[in-house]
Point group: C2
Chain length 156, copies 2
Amino acid sequence: MKLNKIIVATLAIGLTGAALGQVVGKAEDQIRWRQSAYHTMAWNMARIKANVEGTYNKDQVVEAANVVQAIANSKMGALFQPGTDKGKGWKETRVKPEFFKPESKDELGKLAGAYNKEANEMAKVAATGNAAAVKAQFGKLGESCKACHDKFRKDE
Amino acid sequence: MKLNKIIVATLAIGLTGAALGQVVGKAEDQIRWRQSAYHTMAWNMARIKANVEGTYNKDQVVEAANVVQAIANSKMGALFQPGTDKGKGWKETRVKPEFFKPESKDELGKLAGAYNKEANEMAKVAATGNAAAVKAQFGKLGESCKACHDKFRKDE
């Protein structure tokens, strides 16, 4: 990791704190890291889903919700630098060019804020062990993911 | 995600709680998910490294340490089912066949336990904002990762 690759993150996605000094790497690093983070969340969302649809295990749901929460709060916006609308990490990025347009900034901020809120709430609800509440919150969290996918992610 | 893919996790890696009902998916899902989780940790380890070697930002280190901690506690052992010593997720798996041998179980348990301990400690130390302590703990955590890589991961 070359430290001269550290640049200032300028996107509003999840950037509630200081963004200076973020390690963002080369374009292919950014794309691979974000694809990895989304897939790590997908694994953990699948774990929560299996619990609310099958036998409920509080510990598993807490573990999975904590991963989703930590990633949701990790300022992934830094991995969407200009120029990464095209390129390959593990595979071709699916982000739409609209994501990077200045006029999308407000909407992205809202979508990211909603997803952060629901991910933080998911971890809180998971800690209660209330399966019905977890199921309801899992639905809300999934909707907040989908809202951004529908708008800013290309279909496969 | 087919729920009939849910099988019992039998490995000792990180399985400090109940392992029944884990979503482990097909072999290629397991390999892709674990590669994703390791890469997500690698991004966050790089972030901590940049902070301890450059300008220190407490929030960033806390965010990154929380991701590593959450993944370290997510029972990734469930993603190393028998039969996943070979196969492709994002790329060919680098796990060595020795990982899956019964005689490796004790050593794997020790390595996983050490890594869990250092990851939990990393999050605690990050919360203090003490850069020197973070640097020291980052070294210990990195050693705990390397100990397992040296023994059970093939070179690229």
